[in-house]
């Protein structure tokens, strides 16, 4: 589903991503793990065509992201790092706005399902600027799945969510993968990866230091934290 070859990104003298090679299989729940500032968000922004890499190639859905970023965005659901829905639309209006951009029709039922599932029906008519961070994150998750994409890329999926909602989102993501979807998440919380991911990659100081299945022999039966610390130290 995703193939990354020799991918690098510099910001001035800072090497945010350094020669990454990565393959994400279709139908998996891939977790990109790494400490803060390790290059996870930069990777996601390049995978989704939001920024251009300094070097390397990216293929998503078999499409060259550099040549066709819009097509990749059309086919993929994306939740960015910072939840930034427009301030003066209500949550419900925002979903309709996204639907118009994605040329979707008859969404009433789907929107209501999201409001109900993520438990924010009471805030659907509140302006986005007045929503709590948690509710904004729910809204951003809902917009990413609105067009029923085959691939969803989420930067920190559980950020700002309470434990009840975290459980619901984790269940939804796992169920989504069972139904044939592919999910790529980034997180620095190792428990999340251990619990829901089928595959992981570990990025540290811009370099991919591990990539493989969760049941990879390199990890073995050790706690993921021990394996992670061993790699980044």
């Amino acid at each position: 589903m995703i193939i990354v070859t020799d991918l690098s990104k510099h910001f001035g003298n800072t090497m945010a991503v350094d020669g990454v090679n990565l393959e994400v299989r279709k139908g998996g729940l891939f977790g990109l793990l790494g400490p803060n500032g390790s290059g996870k968000t930069t990777m996601i922004r390049m995978l989704t065509g939001q920024i251009r890499p300094t070097a390397g190639e990216i293929s998503v859905h078999g499409i060259d992201v550099l040549a066709n970023p819009l097509t990749v965005k059309e086919l993929t659901g994306i939740v960015p790092e910072q939840e930034t829905p427009p301030s003066f639309l209500t949550a419900e209006e925002y979903l309709y706005f996204v639907a118009k951009i994605r040329k979707l029709e008859n969404l009433e039922e789907q929107c209501e399902w999201w409001f109900s599932y993520l438990d924010f029906a009471g805030q659907k008519d509140v302006l986005c600027k007045d929503l709590s961070r948690g509710t904004r994150q729910k809204l951003m998750l809902a917009q990413a799945f609105l067009h029923d994409p085959e691939l969803v890329i989420i930067d920190e999926p559980l950020i700002n969510l309470d434990p009840l909602m975290q459980r619901k989102v984790k269940d939804f993501l796992q169920d989504y993968v069972k139904r044939g979807g592919t999910v790529f998440i980034s997180t620095h919380i190792l428990e999340i990866a251990r619990e829901i991911c089928t595959d992981i990659g570990i990025i540290y100081k811009g370099k991919l230091v591990f990539s493989g299945r969760m049941d990879d022999s390199a990890i073995g039966s050790r706690p993921l934290e021990e394996f992670f610390l061993e790699l980044v130290n």
């Binding site: 922004r45 989704t48 939001q50 920024i51 251009r52 819009l70 097509t71 965005k73 059309e74 994306i78 939740v79 960015p80 910072q82 930034t84 829905p85 427009p86 301030s87 003066f88 639309l89 209500t90 419900e92 209006e93 309709y96 706005f97 996204v98 118009k100 951009i101 994605r102 805030q123 008519d125 509140v126 302006l127 600027k129 007045d130 929503l131």
Partner: protein, 464 residues
């Protein structure tokens, strides 16, 4: 508690310099020096038709206007800063987390604005103007001019702060109050000569300095500021307001229009944001009304200019400020993860801009009819449309989606002035030669379209 003031100064500098680098922002006063120097050097040509008293009048009113613009940004730009930096990250909101009162913060905020913009605008403007005048052997008293221009600037700033306090306390009733005050001003100044304009205390003080006038000037600055601080009202949302889904209906009604969803969004942005319709009244209709009010007086100082031509050009220039309203609530990062490009967003903004231009267009048509010049309507409308299109194309090319802040970059601002100044002055003086030459403004339309095309290419490469 000098630390708060000190930190606010640092915050203001870093906020601006973070957008376009320390050097780009630091050079902004240099550009102001250059512009004001060119302005005073132009007296070599215009000195024959404009007296020194008229020049001083223009300078003091210009600084009054600049002060009100800076204050206006404080009033209307708060939401922009909230959107870009979030409330929690601004010192103006530190009373939430630190044991400091709102009044203390606001007092520091006013003093910071005054000192900051003294060095950014007033000092370089005065220095450039006096230096340019010195070259052509016209001598001004630098220190007195600096003081009176600074007082003019502070008067504009404090009056707008007062307006913002009135607005915060009275809400929509303030709009009615402003409407009444505007009518009173219209009645007071109707049919009077330009001599009434000289009663502006800082200007009167430059012409005939006296302690009494100094006290009046200081009173004009301090009294509105103190009232603003006493009646300060800061609203933190205590409850979530609920709105019915209006987006769906508006977008459906405009379904025939390619960017209907963006137009609907922008309409809701404007109507639901702080100020709402008041924003149009405050920052467009009131200034247009004031210009219409003062233009006949100012044109008496420069004989031979066609009032409708100048009005159409000025309204065309001011109309381009509506583009800024449209982009101020948006950052491209809000769209970067959707199948949209920066040119898509620019096109949507330009579509909404075209629709909003119905307001100034109506004003132009009404004033043309009102002045009994129905036969000139094609010329005047064409001039307005051409200037508005050209202005917005230059604005888009130079600033993209970051208009209000990008113009503080020295290079961008210089480019803006150089692209706009000669063209609009050229149009005005062309009309002075022969009114029918106004038709030449049609050339600006293909130029504007070309500049917009280049803008889409330029901003299409931009990354958030």
């Amino acid at each position: 508690m000098f630390e708060l003031f000190n930190s606010m100064m640092k915050e203001e500098w870093r906020m601006h310099s973070s957008f376009f680098g320390n050097r780009g922002f630091a050079l902004f006063p240099v550009v102001i020096v250059a512009i004001s120097m060119l302005l005073s050097l132009s007296m070599m040509i215009f000195g024959r038709i404009i007296s020194q008293a008229d020049v001083l009048l223009g300078l003091h009113y210009l600084l009054l206007f600049m002060g009100s613009m800076v204050g206006g940004f404080g009033l209307l730009g708060r939401e922009v800063m909230n959107r870009r930096f979030s409330q929690a990250s601004l010192l103006a909101y530190s009373s939430r987390t630190l044991p400091i009162s709102e009044r203390f913060i606001f007092s520091n905020f006013i003093v910071k604005d005054v000192i900051y913009y003294f060095f950014l605008y007033v000092l370089p403007f005065t220095a450039g103007f006096v230096a340019g005048a010195f070259i052509i052997d016209i001598h001004y008293s630098f220190l007195i001019l600096l003081m009176t221009l600074f007082l003019s600037f502070c008067t504009g700033l404090s009056l707008v702060f007062l307006l913002s306090t009135v607005y915060a306390n009275l809400g929509k009733k303030a709009l009615f109050l402003i409407f009444v005050v505007s009518i009173v001003l219209l009645v007071l100044f109707q049919g009077t000569g330009p001599e009434k304009l000289y009663v502006l205390p800082p200007l009167a003080m430059y012409i005939a300095p006296s302690v009494d006038l100094l006290i009046i000037c200081l009173g004009l600055v301090l009294v509105p500021s103190i009232i603003s601080i006493i009646f300060l009202k800061v609203d933190y949302p205590q409850f979530q307001k609920h709105y019915r889904n209006r987006f769906k209906g508006i977008a459906a009604r405009l379904g025939f229009y390619g960017y209907s969803h963006f137009v609907a969004k922008e309409y809701l942005d404007l109507s639901r944001s702080e100020g709402g319709v008041g924003k149009i009244v405050f920052s467009f209709l009131v200034p247009v009304a004031l210009i219409w009010l003062f233009l006949p007086q100012l044109l008496k100082l420069v004989p031979g200019l066609d009032i409708l031509v100048v009005f159409a050009v000025v309204v065309g220039m001011m109309a381009s400020s509506m583009y800024n309203w449209l982009v101020e609530f948006d950052m491209f990062s809000s769209y970067a993860f959707l199948p949209l490009t920066v040119p898509d967003i620019l096109r949507s903004k330009l579509n909404s801009y075209s629709l909003l231009n119905v307001i100034p267009l109506a004003i132009i048509i009404i004033t043309t009819v009102y002045t009994g010049r129905l036969f000139d309507i094609v010329h005047i409308v064409l001039l307005f449309v051409a200037v508005s299109m050209y202005m917005v194309s230059v604005t888009v090319y130079l600033t993209g989606l970051n208009t209000s802040i990008s113009l503080y970059n020295a290079g961008t601002f210089a480019g803006y002035v150089l692209a706009i100044g000669p063209v609009v002055l050229g149009m005005i003086f062309l009309a002075q030669l022969n009114f029918h030459f106004v038709i030449a403004s049609v050339i600006l339309i293909p130029v504007a379209l070309f500049v917009l095309k280049r803008s889409f290419v330029k901003w299409g490469k931009w990354e958030v």
